[in-house]
């Protein structure tokens, strides 16, 4: 059974049909790409999957469970975590605290225990620190743990966002244009990181990207979206050579 199964997903904003009859099946452990020209509806699909928007129609199933029209928090608890196209870190918190915020639901003590500094507070905080540092080490951010998140360079902010999403221990990770604004070297490094995350955490990843080098380099399958509809779907190499896709990107 597929990890993520989307059937006939659609949403209208007033008279605008943003996404129409979107379908996808992503197997466990797969690295899946979602591409398309600007305004094709890629980020809208992410927002539908994570509960930011409620779909007009369609069904979203994660690991067999129906998560359509659930709230964002419930969907995160069900196992979907995401990053954002324009980075959304907790700017005034430290790098470490950003990841610890991601651990919020997996490491728990009551507010009273926190206020009174009961033993459980120290125990759980210590575990959280260890777990967060472990994650930061994976992304080579451990030396910057005490910096304010807004002081990190751009590339590292992207990585921190991925680390924070992984801290919620998701089944499916959604990356919205992870390579946006990166130079070729940084993109290359990011590709390695994404592959590493897929292997190390046995993570299923769905990503939106404009950088074709990245998409053809790491995605096993892709879906091409144009004007809110599926243009082409299948194995990466075949899809990228499809004349229809080339036309959508480059024009006639």
């Amino acid at each position: 059974m597929a990890l993520l199964e989307v059937k006939n997903l659609g949403i209208s904003f007033g008279g605008l049909r943003a996404v129409n009859a979107f379908e996808v099946k992503i197997e466990k452990g797969q690295l899946y790409g979602l591409i398309g020209p600007n305004g094709a509806g890629k980020t809208t699909i992410f927002n539908l999957l994570t509960g930011v928007y409620k779909p007009t129609e369609g069904i979203i199933k994660l690991d067999g469970a129906d998560i359509t029209r659930k709230k964002a928090i419930e969907i995160n608890k069900a196992g979907i975590a995401r990053t954002f196209q324009n980075i959304r870190l907790f700017k005034n918190l430290s790098v470490l605290d950003n990841v610890k915020a991601g651990l919020h639901n997996n490491y728990s003590y009551s507010t009273i225990e926190g206020l009174l500094r009961l033993p459980r507070y120290f125990k759980v905080e210590k575990e959280m620190n260890e777990k967060a540092m472990e994650l930061l080490k994976v992304f080579d951010l451990d030396k910057e743990a005490e910096y304010k998140a807004s002081n990190l360079p751009y590339g590292k902010q992207r990585k921190l966002e991925i680390a924070r999403a992984l801290a919620t221990e998701p089944k499916l990770l959604l990356l919205d244009e992870p390579a946006a604004g990166m130079n070729p070297n940084e993109t290359e490094e990011l590709m390695q990181t994404i592959k590493f995350v897929q292997k190390e955490f046995e993570m299923t990843i769905l990503l939106i990207e404009h950088d074709m080098k990245l998409v053809s380099g790491i995605c096993e399958e892709v879906t091409v979206l144009n004007f809110g509809e599926i243009l082409c779907q299948g194995e990466t190499k075949a899809v990228l050579n499809d004349p229809q896709v080339i036309t959508a990107y480059l024009g006639e």
């Binding site: 928090i73 959304r88 870190l89 907790f90 919020h104 620190n129 990190l152």
Partner: protein, 355 residues
């Protein structure tokens, strides 16, 4: 973790400052070096400092502008004064004041939750306007309450004290616009400082815990906080009601320092809310220690400058402006860094810059 130790150290410095201030003022006043005018300001000073740090929890940590803080203080003050008046003589003073504190905090906290549920859906200026209105509503509603007690029990009216129909044994407890008279004077400066310390511990411990991280992450980015599974409504309401409950404690302190408690615009109106906000803004939004210092200076300054008569408000204004520059402008930030460096000495290297 080094990070954890650093914040713990900074928290303990704040506690130390408060304890030291309490000891110094106590010694000065027992040596007779404090004028009666300033002596009369000491309990309100504690109340203002508690109000300032509790409002900073909403404005600085939760990131929402609330202008109704005096309303919560008002609820705490009247709920506790009513209780103290009712039970006067039935139990020892200390125990009664302790219960009065609990009742004041609980009543204000409850109002915080009730008002917070509809109001926290709003953001920014809208939230400020609605909280301002709620603060005024609380004050005005209390002004039309008449509650009396006689041999047959409690009487309640919203018209006037005659409408209570009290028999010969009756006494009016809450007398509308004239408020509550004869509240026992239980507040002292030392109790006030002790309550301030407890409020401080609650707020600083909250900030450095799981709940505090959730609250600050909502402040920094609501959508991202939701995407990592943080329950926005719950934590917003938590911060708002804890802040309201602490304002209630300040109200209890304030009420038990006065022999007659009146819900006047001066003590519980929006002027008061704005004054608390001034403490928070001047001390630095999100900076708890700063709020304490700002409340301390701005409360005592007008009294200390009384000798200068007409120039008093001029100097007050200059101090306001200087504090603003010191806290907010870029140059002031550098100045602050320089001062901090001097104090630290040259032993430690500058904090690392990110390349």
């Amino acid at each position: 973790m080094r990070h954890l130790q650093k914040t713990t150290k900074s928290n303990f410095i704040t506690y130390g400052i408060v304890i030291l201030t309490a000891v110094i003022i106590q010694i000065l006043s027992s040596a007779g070096a404090v004028s009666s005018l300033i002596g009369g300001l000491l309990v309100p000073l504690c109340a203002y400092m508690i109000l300032a740090i509790s409002l900073n929890l909403v404005v600085g940590i939760l990131g929402d502008l609330s202008l109704g803080h005096a309303g919560f203080m008002c609820v705490g003050a009247f709920a506790s004064a009513f209780f103290s008046k009712m039970t006067a003589g039935t139990m020892p003073d200390g125990l009664r004041f302790f219960f009065a504190l609990l009742i004041g905090a609980a009543a204000a906290g409850l109002f915080g939750i009730l008002i917070g549920i509809p109001v926290l859906r709003l953001r920014g200026d809208y939230l400020a306007i609605v909280t301002l209105a709620f603060g005024e509503i609380i004050k005005n509603v209390i002004n039309v309450f008449f509650i009396g007690r006689d041999s047959s029990g409690l009487h309640f009216s919203m018209k006037d004290s005659v409408a209570l129909n009290l028999d010969s044994t009756g006494e009016v407890i809450v007398n509308g616009p004239q408020g509550i008279n004869g509240t026992p004077k239980d507040s002292t400066f030392l109790i006030g400082m002790f309550l301030l310390l407890i409020a401080l511990i609650i707020i600083l411990n909250l900030i450095n815990s799981r709940a505090g991280r959730a609250i600050m992450s909502i402040r920094d980015d609501r959508i991202a906080a939701e995407s990592i599974g943080i329950n926005i409504t719950k934590f917003k309401l938590m911060a708002f009601s804890i802040s309201a409950a602490l304002a209630g404690v300040a109200g209890v302190l304030y009420a038990h320092n006065l022999s007659s408690l009146v819900a006047s615009p001066k003590s519980f109106g929006y002027n008061m809310s704005i004054m608390i906000l001034v403490f928070v803004v001047l001390g630095g939004i999100g900076n708890i220690r700063g709020s304490l210092i700002a409340a301390f200076i701005l409360t005592l300054l007008p009294e200390m400058l009384r000798g200068l008569s007409n120039y008093r408000m001029l100097i007050y204004a200059i101090v306001l402006i200087l504090m603003m520059i010191f806290n907010w402008s870029k140059g002031g930030g550098r100045l602050k860094e320089m001062v901090a460096e001097r104090l630290r000495g040259l032993r430690k290297p500058r904090t690392k810059e990110v390349k």
